[in-house]
Symmetry: C2
């Protein structure tokens, strides 16, 4: 199988390593706007050769879109327009807009809307590794819109990555992910901005930043280029989630202000109960 990976960052690079190892890909062609990503992947033999978008798409059996989600929306129309028998699979963290776009195109049945739930706070192909996807969940959205063969090919792709496949509606996907992934990133970005001022040499950060802080601030290392279009494509859900989150924080603040021990206890005990349920699912 000839695989064309568009976008050679953490996801694209890890895909290349894993798909070659598993034998799914016989040949891997790659494209990235950033020359340094492309040359890194060639020098380190992650890909066999480079090609421009439409040129690579023409010779590939399967085209994988692993760019930030704004790049996916931008590239899809021209990719669909020139599509013959190839399959396109995307790896984006938002799904509603891309599924709508494909639904209005005659070749849209050959596009499988997917979201492999795998990532770390580091980015770029130098951070990529073969096991990134292993045992993680991959979501395929609205498989009923796909022709049978493209869907089967995508299923085999995620099987080759050793992922657990689930199916969702794109609208439901974007809403759930706002609360269970995207919000966590804003929370962590904001914590870094709150906890430390680069110009402030006073805070004893080298001694005091411990385990609890470390885990809540970790996602502040995440790529701006990746997360910017996710937040904007998932705008309505993000605003709803942020409003609810800020109202919960404000409740904590109010109870602290009022010395309301009972109110604080109720919030924390409810949170403990939810955490127990969440923890069973992790």
């Amino acid at each position: 199988m000839n695989v064309f990976i568009i976008g050679l960052g953490l996801i694209g690079g890890s895909l290349a390593k894993s798909l070659r190892k598993s034998g799914f890909a016989d040949e891997i062609i790659g494209f990235d706007r950033a020359a340094e990503n492309l040359s890194f992947c060639i020098e380190n033999k992650l890909i066999d050769k480079a090609a421009e978008v439409l040129e690579g798409a023409k010779i590939a059996d399967i085209i994988i879109l692993a760019t930030p989600v704004d790049g996916i929306l931008e590239l899809m129309p021209e990719l669909l327009n020139q599509l013959e028998e190839q399959v396109i699979v995307d790896m984006g963290s938002t799904k509603r807009e891309i599924v709508e776009l494909a639904a209005h195109h005659p070749k849209g049945k050959n596009f499988v809307a997917a979201h492999p739930m795998a990532g770390i706070e580091n980015s770029g192909p130098s951070a990529s590794f073969e096991q990134l996807f292993t045992d993680k969940v991959a979501i395929i959205c609205n498989p009923e819109k796909n022709a049978r063969m493209p869907l089967n090919l995508a299923k085999l792709l995620f099987k080759a990555l050793n992922m657990k496949l689930i199916y969702m509606d794109a609208i439901e996907h974007d809403k759930d992910l706002a609360y269970l992934s995207h919000l966590s990133h804003i929370l962590s970005f904001s914590l870094a901005l709150t906890a430390y001022n680069v110009d402030d040499k006073e805070r004893n950060i080298y001694n005091l930043a411990g385990g609890g802080f470390a885990s809540t601030v970790r996602l502040a290392g995440s790529s701006a280029a990746m997360w910017n279009p996710i937040f904007l494509q998932n705008k309505e859900n993000m605003i709803e989630a942020l409003d609810l989150y800020i109202s919960n924080l404000s409740l904590f603040k109010k109870h602290i202000q009022d010395n309301n021990k009972e109110g604080l206890n109720q919030l924390m005990e409810k949170s403990n109960a939810i955490y127990k349920i969440i923890n069973q699912s992790l």
Copy 2:
């Protein structure tokens, strides 16, 4: 050395295990208001015997206060009143109020205000383990208020726990900890409350709660009994930190609402830069 541990939760239980192992404690006496904690510690030989607060304090060489911080404030006056040659060391996460209380007592020089920065989201003596403190930071506040011998004894205590000692002013401690520890807990409690409603069977939490969410929500498992009085004793700093945090979240929300890609990028890139500095300190 005869050690009396008041409060046999995660901290008290781990202290017992570690101080016995290191040889610092020859005999360990324990007290806990909760009968199940006390019997757990006796049955599992974490402590040698149980004693009431004033009785245990009388026969101990060193009294360790490992209760939630409201318990520490409550017990201190009677402990100081009956103090002869013993040393008291507390393990509380807030320090300003307790240091002020001790400063007004004639025996206050024998009280060492400490904060071992070690903890996990699980609580109770059954979660305790010998290595909890190893290589972590212990803070002693306002050592200039101590007589020489109590201070030296406390230093040896933290040395026996294999901790790195630093010294701070209590007011500075409480402010820095608000931003670098206490805020993280409220953020995590609030995330659990926001992300999942116990009555809401719709959210696909079993498949979608991944790595980023897991690390930001982990502290939602923390003990309400421990954190309630920390938030209230550190009230002014918590409100300041929460206000700044909410204003940073609101900036993200505003930029999303306005489709302000540039504004979002600036926030995330600043956050990335801060994370780099933080990450070097972890």
